[in-house]
């Protein structure tokens, strides 16, 4: 029994290793199954045979009388032991030829009728139909009769073979049999197939009980294999019907054997694990579904994607990613700084820093002032200055200054982490494959964007693809010659010069404006109008709007390839924005210095004021303790931190406003005018001059990146910035989605989305670095204001860490920390890190090199294999031809001897044989040993013909009727089985 199963399992494993499931495979599967069952020990069989004979004698009468009326046989059959039934198929083969044969046939039929649905294959349906028709006809097939006895004999012979050979040999042997038997009559297959269907649980369980651990392992392996198949089936390029069928079969198999594996002694754990895994898979799938359902704006973005292609969508995906990052930043600042201060900190008006000064009180609630983030807005949790330097606040003893500092650092750290992680992931996805030797092929095979669902976009795409083809061809043709290279060079230098002029001019303009605004601020803003107050922001926004256009015009001088031109353009805009930002920061630094000077004087005046206060009160004979001054009246310093925060907030607001206004005017209004004025205009507006605007992906991305840079810079001094940014991103998501869909036309210039994704990220990283520099500089090197903010009274902001260490941690910790922060330790550590980076870098380089080498190796190997395969195929073809010749000779001889029907039959069976051979060509030789016995007994023993009483034909017979091709594969030239024996 053992070896049977090991064989069975072995076959199963092989079965899975086959790359493709073909129709023959299911047949094959059945064969092996049957084989396994057939080879059960004989002692049991004899016992059962006796049992069966009793029952059969009781039933014989009725079954002989009415062939079609065999339903009554069923219940009795059901009552029999399952095991018995399972083995009956084999036993039948061995049993002496008598009436029982037909009876069993019928029983099998019946059971098939009731249970056959488990294997819902097309094959089976066919058989059923045939069965029905056979019932009507009641005509026994002669061929069937002929074959049965012979086959039975074969069986006997095979089973009589000594069972005590070593395992390896046996396996081989059985394999031989399975392959040879496929060419036997269909009858056998029937029974085995049926068994395969219905003795599932108990049968396998019983079998499993007798399996050795080794075989169990194999079975497990087979089950795992199936599971793997189930897991990867979706990645197979098959039609759904086939996938569905394979899935069902595999699942059935897994359930059948997994369940059995679980039921035995001590295997409960396995079953439990399996069950849990199933549950876990289901949960994962549901979770996955849930997750995709939770991704915001997914449908919107997909909609845009399908209209405008992936490049426009990449902007929105970037925007969404940015929104997620800002959500985290907002959570940090809001949850750890703003809310604790608002809930637990001292209320408004309790101390001077939390009160609007008397001079400003009158207009503190005016909208203009609030819009400028002055008045009440300035003296609120939104800005640095409002926070108190109390070490702990509220009943929670929340250490607000520490929290403030750590959140400031955490924002930067988190941003670095997330940007670098995303970059690394993107780089991984790209796989570092920078081979550019498939230029044309990529253009041809991958240039179509299947997401395009808009005819206009499609037209643009057609045009751009055509131009890219033409360009590529022209480039290829004239890659060497460049006639007026001097002119081009001159123009390029000129263009760069112009751009530099633009950059310098815009930088100076900003510097000038900021200086002017400082003067205004010193004079008092009230004396000036709206323009003077918002000059800086407006100038910056306008520069950001018009300079790119100027660059665009200038870049047309250069005559670069569009892609390179685009990169230049992006680089220039980037430089412009950066220059503007840094000019702004430098001006801000000047202002900070001014404020700090002012602060000195205020400090000086403060002492004088306090002294005068004392003097005054003493003069009035009032005790010192009772001196109370309204906080609004206390003179205070300028608080440069709040000023910086305010500047950034104003910048963000004005930037947002300009973005929205340009969107509404530049896109929406333009689209409206073009659309409706087109009816009464002298030229075609839609295709002529103004036309509709395109969605400017690169400009928008750059805007987003710089906006984020400002957030990073200003968030320390204005904790409200992430919240504002979140709001801005949220609104622009909807607004831009709407604007794109309603008033933009798809762009003509191709801007590959995936290629530029990391480009955006790299820019973001640069901006992040550049924006954290000034922020860190101010935090580290400028002493905080003396009378506002959480760090007031300290000489540096990071002293808060020192303070916490000293007061909240045990003494030894402070000591350890001071040692650890000792330069003598820090410097070697930094050195070590640099070394580690160097080492990792060099190893990654060597890995890359190894990768390339492997790739090359693989390629050469592939080519070699191809050659080898070709020669092998040729050889095989030759062999086949020879074999065919030999066969035709033999066939002629045989056909003389045999009846034509038999011949037909044999042909059919040999087809099957051939399929098997196709499946396992390497078993051909082994089969030779088994064949002679079978084939020669196939035509002997004519006595059996007569013994058989007419019976209805069995369902499965239909497929094997002479002349009715059963398998699609039978269309290939037939090779009668004899050729295998040559």
């Amino acid at each position: 029994m053992d070896n049977n199963h090991s064989v069975f399992i072995y076959e199963q494993c092989r079965f899975f290793s086959d790359a493709e499931f073909e129709d023959e495979d299911s047949n094959y599967y059945r064969d092996t199954d049957r084989e396994a069952k057939r080879r059960r020990p004989k002692e049991k069989k004899t016992r059962e045979r006796k049992e069966r004979e009793k029952k059969r004698s009781a039933k014989n009468g009725e079954s002989n009388g009415k062939a079609g009326n065999n339903v009554r046989g069923q219940p009795e059959e059901e009552q029999r032991g399952r095991k018995g039934r399972r083995r009956r198929g084999k036993e039948e083969e061995k049993a002496p030829v008598d009436g029982g044969d037909e009876e069993v046939d019928r029983e099998v039929q019946k059971r098939r009728k009731t249970r056959g649905n488990r294997k819902a294959t097309k094959h089976l349906k066919e058989e059923k139909e045939e069965e029905n028709s056979n019932h009507k006809r009641q005509r026994p097939s002669k061929a069937e009769k002929d074959m049965k006895p012979s086959q039975r004999k074969t069986k006997k012979k095979e089973e009589d073979e000594p069972e005590k050979i070593d395992k390896g040999r046996k396996k081989r042997k059985v394999k031989v049999e399975t392959s040879s038997e496929s060419s036997d009559s269909s009858e056998e297959e029937e029974s085995s197939e049926e068994e395969d269907g219905d003795d599932g649980e108990e049968g396998t369980e019983a079998v499993l009980g007798a399996l050795t651990p080794e075989e169990l392992e194999k079975l497990k392996e087979a089950v795992d294999e199936r599971k793997k198949l189930i897991g990867t089936i979706r990645a197979k390029p098959w039609a759904m019907k086939k996938k569905l069928q394979t899935l069902r079969e595999s699942q059935e198999f897994v359930e059948k054997y997994e369940g059995a594996l679980g039921k035995g002694r001590g295997r409960k754990l396995y079953a439990y694990k399996v069950m849990m895994r199933k549950k876990w898979m289901k949960f994962q799938r549901d979770f996955e579904n849930f997750k995709t359902a939770c991704i915001p704006w997914e449908m919107k973005i997909k909609d845009i994607e399908s209209h405008f292609g992936s490049s426009v969508a990449s902007y929105f995906i970037f925007l969404r990613w940015m929104y997620g990052v800002n959500m985290i930043l907002f959570g940090l600042t809001f949850g750890l700084v703003m809310v604790p201060e608002a809930l637990m900190g001292r209320p408004y008006g309790s101390i001077p820093r939390k009160t609007v000064p008397r001079a400003d009180e009158a207009g503190a609630m005016d909208f203009a002032v609030l819009w400028d983030f002055g008045g009440y807005a300035k003296y609120s949790v939104l800005f640095y200055g409002y926070y108190n330097n109390q070490r702990t606040i509220g009943w929670l003893k929340f250490r607000l200054p520490l929290s403030y500092f750590l959140v400031g650092v955490g924002i930067v750290a988190y941003s670095y982490m997330v940007v670098i992680r995303t970059m690394a992931r993107n780089a991984n996805e790209q796989g570092g494959g920078d081979e550019t030797n498939y230029n044309f092929s990529w253009k041809l095979f991958t240039s179509w964007d299947y997401l395009i669902g808009n005819p206009e976009t499609a037209d643009n795409k057609f045009a751009s693809i055509t131009t890219s083809f033409k360009e590529a061809i022209v480039e290829e043709q004239e890659s060497r010659k460049d006639d007026n290279i001097h002119l081009t060079r001159f123009l390029r230098v000129l263009a760069n010069f112009l751009v530099l002029c633009c950059l310098a001019g815009s930088g100076y303009l900003i510097y000038f404006v900021v200086r002017r605004s400082q003067k205004f601020a010193l004079d008092g803003l009230e004396n000036y109008g709206w323009w003077e107050r918002n000059e800086v922001n407006m100038v910056m926004s306008l520069l950001g709007m018009f300079c790119p256009m100027l660059f665009d015009v200038i870049s047309s001088l250069e005559n670069y390839h569009p892609r390179i031109a685009l990169q230049w353009q992006l680089g220039r805009i980037f430089a412009l924005f950066l220059g503007n930002l840094y000019t702004f920061i430098i001006a801000l630094m000047d202002e900070i210095n001014l404020k700090r000077k002012e602060e000195e004087t205020v400090k000086f005046n403060m002492t004088a004021w306090q002294a005068s206060l004392y003097n005054g009160t003493i003069g009035d004979n009032v005790t010192l303790s009772s001196i109370t001054v309204d906080p609004a009246d206390v003179p205070r310093g300028p608080c440069w931190e709040t000023m910086v925060g305010q500047e950034f907030v104003r910048l963000i607001i004005s930037d947002t406003m300009t973005t929205y206004v340009t969107l509404l005017i530049g896109d929406f209004l333009r689209a409206l005018i073009v659309r409706f004025l087109n009816y009464c205009w002298c030229w075609d507006l839609e295709y002529g001059f103004p036309s509709y605007s395109e969605f400017d992906v690169s400009g928008n991305v750059l805007g987003l990146i710089f906006n984020q840079g400002m957030i990073w810079m200003g968030a320390f001094y204005a904790p409200c910035l992430p919240a504002l940014n979140l709001l801005r991103l949220h609104v622009s998501m909807y607004l831009q989605c709407w604007a794109v869909m309603c008033c933009n036309v798809p762009q003509e210039r191709v801007f590959k989305a995936s290629g530029s994704n990391n480009f955006y990220m790299a820019m973001l990283l640069v901006i992040l670095f550049l924006s954290t520099l000034p922020a860190i500089y101010t935090i580290v090197s400028i002493p905080p204001s003396f009378d506002c903010g959480p760090f007031s009274g300290k000489s540096r902001m990071f002293d808060v860490i020192q303070e916490t260490l000293e007061t909240d941690f045990p003494a030894w910790f402070g000591k350890v920390f001071s040692y650890a922060s000792n330069p003598g330790l820090v410097l070697p550590f930094i050195l070590l890190m640099v070394l580690a980076i160097y080492y990792l870098n060099s190893t990654s380089k060597s890995y890359k090199q190894a990768n390339l080498d492997l790739k090359k190796k693989l390629q050469t190997q592939n080519e070699e294999n191809k050659k080898k395969n070709k020669t092998a195929a040729l050889k095989a073809a030759n062999d086949l031809e020879e074999a065919r010749n030999a066969v035709s000779l033999l066939q002629q001889q045989q056909s003389n001897n045999n009846a034509s029907k038999q011949d037909d039959r044999r042909l059919d069976s040999s087809q099957q044989n051939r399929q098997q051979a196709d499946n396992r060509p390497n078993y051909r030789e082994t089969r030779h040993t088994a064949h002679p016995a079978k084939s020669h007994c196939g035509h002997s023993d004519p006595r059996r013909h007569i013994d058989r009483s007419p019976t209805p034909r069995r369902p499965g017979m239909s497929g094997y009727l002479p002349g009715l091709p059963h398998h699609p594969a039978s269309k290939v030239p037939r090779h009668p089985h004899i050729h295998l024996q040559e």
């Binding site: 990645a235 992936s310 092929s441 997401l451 395009i452 057609f462 590959k752």
Partner: protein
């Protein structure tokens, strides 16, 4: 197969999830879209086939130059008329979905580009492919000289074994190195 019922049976739905790269919502959406295409009289038959003309009216496919090829490749119809059942339709969406692997995408891309269904991309296929990509209008079409140049360049690059055609493995080799094939070989309902 339940494709005609107004609701998909639950077990079938989970099987579809197992067999495609689509999520539950996507399958349900696909089902909704598909049933909208099915005509009233079609609903009575067991396995509904939607003729290719109907499928091509979907806005997602309308402007795709390969729309007919896509239908033909995914159709399991014996008449080779490009008509799709719901399962074929799911196969289509699965291959074009976000999470489908490069292997399956490139396999189907190859079959789509293989206009004469002979298993290789030969001169004729490539020519048709170029014509599909450059559109139907006269002014965008390439001249014969350009076409010849282009195809010879392509074959030079991709035809590794130099047999004059691009076969599946060569095609996949080329495609797998492309940075934007996976992101552009997508159709979203």
């Amino acid at each position: 197969m339940g494709a005609t019922a107004s609701q998909l049976p639950k077990d079938l739905l989970s099987e579809y999830q197992e067999l495609t790269f689509l999520t539950k919502q996507e399958i349900l959406l696909a089902h909704k879209r598909f049933t909208e295409l099915v005509t009233r009289e079609g609903r009575t038959s067991a396995v509904t086939r939607v003729p290719m003309e109907k499928i091509l009216t979907l806005p997602e496919l309308k402007s795709n130059p390969f729309r007919k090829r896509i239908c033909h490749v995914f159709s399991t119809s014996e008449l080779k008329d490009g008509s799709l059942t719901f399962e074929d339709f799911l196969d289509l969406l699965s291959a074009f979905s976000d999470s489908a692997t490069l292997e399956i995408k490139s396999h189907y891309a190859f079959r789509i580009f293989d206009f004469d269904d002979d298993g290789t991309l030969d001169q004729g296929d490539l020519e048709k492919l170029v014509n599909c990509l450059t559109g139907d209008t006269e002014d965008t079409r390439l001249t014969t000289e350009e076409m010849r140049q282009l195809i010879s360049n392509i074959l030079e690059e991709s035809d590794i074994d130099k047999d004059g055609t691009v076969n599946l493995s060569e095609f996949q080799h080329v495609i797998s190195r492309s940075p934007d094939f996976v992101s552009s070989f997508k159709i979203v309902l």
